[in-house]
């Protein structure tokens, strides 16, 4: 029986999909968790008190996190730029 089990990379290294990458300004970040809540890829990790980190291996660069951030602490930066 071909049975599947949960695993990252079920569609490959989806980080290669993006053309823009979200960069978090941790000083602006108010630790609200909205980007974590709305990220459709679960690549944002959040612990209250420790703010957020992003897993760039799989981030598809959709930009929802930047869009929902109430203090605009996330910038969508073109890939390849610093």
């Amino acid at each position: 029986m071909p049975i599947s089990t949960p695993s990252t990379a079920s569609a490959g290294v989806t980080g290669t999909w993006r053309t823009y990458k979200p960069v978090v300004n941790l000083q602006k970040c108010i630790d609200c968790g909205l980007c974590w809540l709305y990220c459709p890829e679960s690549v944002i990790d959040w612990e209250k008190g420790q703010k957020v980190t992003i897993d760039y291996t799989f981030c598809k660069g959709c930009g929802i996190c930047a869009d929902v951030c109430p203090v605009k602490a996330i910038d969508m930066v073109p890939e390849g730029e610093l």
Partner: protein, 297 residues
């Protein structure tokens, strides 16, 4: 029920690296479903975007038990699973996670049958308003005037209101929901899980490639749908219709944002004339009239 973000489960029910499009509205909904019922449900997924986002076997991009099933069969398969669980003494819910195509169109007979039988399932129709999995063809749930590949000059027919149709079956629980209002959706999932019988949730899930908008705007588009009154949050619980916040605010037409604010973000409506937008506004008003009358019953 209090909804503190930091107390929600951190487990990744949507697993990174899955096959969904960037910015997929449905995945946000799946996350919330996982947080609410992930450890106590078995999902039944018919042919749809949801089948594909699971990624490629032997890997799965969704960390919940899933049975993939034929397109028109999901209400019946879920009924079978639910009855089996009952007879075998297994605790848990059979939850259908189906698109608008599999629900409003090809699966409608089975849906109506399951509702009429009051089969003990939770049916969630995630609505991206077209057959997105096969490349953006119109469904019965596509709104009037929207561009799709099979309605290139705009759909002529009105959107089928599946949630209202389910309420008219007299089932124990029906609700509309929206991924921009996750706490409302979460509460409705928990409420459905408390009830025996047929529960239906119509979840609004914007689709960037299908609706032609920047994937960053998924949540914004979903929110505007409610703020302009195009999408109404309501609940039908044990025979009683009720509006849910913030749609309670938008019952007052003067509080609604102009429909244009919602339409202009989406390329599928780019061809609309002023007259057509006005006609759509009148349809929004007419739907509000119906819902408001029902809510007073």
């Amino acid at each position: 029920m209090s909804f503190r973000l930091d107390l929600l489960p951190k487990k990744k029910y949507v697993v990174p690296g899955n096959a969904a499009c960037a910015g997929c509205g449905m995945m946000i909904g799946l996350k919330i479903l996982g947080m609410a019922l992930g450890e106590e449900s078995v999902l039944v997924i018919p042919a749809s975007c949801a089948s594909v986002v699971q990624g490629l076997a032997p890997k799965s991009g969704v960390a919940m038990p899933i049975l993939n099933v034929p397109f028109a069969s999901s209400p019946a398969v879920a009924t079978g699973i639910s009855e089996a669980f009952k007879m075998l003494g297994v605790k848990g819910h059979a939850v259908v996670w189906a698109g608008d195509g599999g629900t409003a169109d090809i699966g409608f007979a089975a849906l109506s049958g399951a509702a009429e039988r009051n089969s003990n399932i939770i049916y969630i129709m995630y609505d991206n308003e077209a057959y997105m999995n096969t490349g953006i063809q119109r469904s019965g749930s596509t709104p009037r005037t929207a561009w799709t590949t099979t309605t290139p000059t705009g759909k002529r027919e009105r959107k089928k209101d599946v949630a209202l149709l389910m309420a008219m079956h007299g089932v124990p629980y029906v609700a509309t929901a929206n991924i921009a209002y996750p706490q409302d959706f979460y509460r409705k999932l928990k409420r459905a899980a408390e009830i025996q019988g047929f529960k239906f949730i119509h979840l609004y899930t914007p689709c960037p490639p299908g609706w032609r908008f920047d994937p960053a705007k998924t949540v914004e588009v979903a929110r505007l749908a409610v703020e302009t009154g195009a999408w109404i949050l309501w609940e039908y619980d044990n025979g009683v219709f009720k509006l849910n916040p913030p749609s309670t605010v938008y019952a007052d037409k003067s509080k609604r944002r102009p429909l244009k604010d919602y339409l202009k973000l989406q390329g599928r409506f780019a061809h609309l004339t002023e007259e057509e937008i006005k006609a759509l506004e009148e349809e929004v008003d007419a739907k509000w009239n119906t819902i408001l009358k029902l809510a007073k019953l």
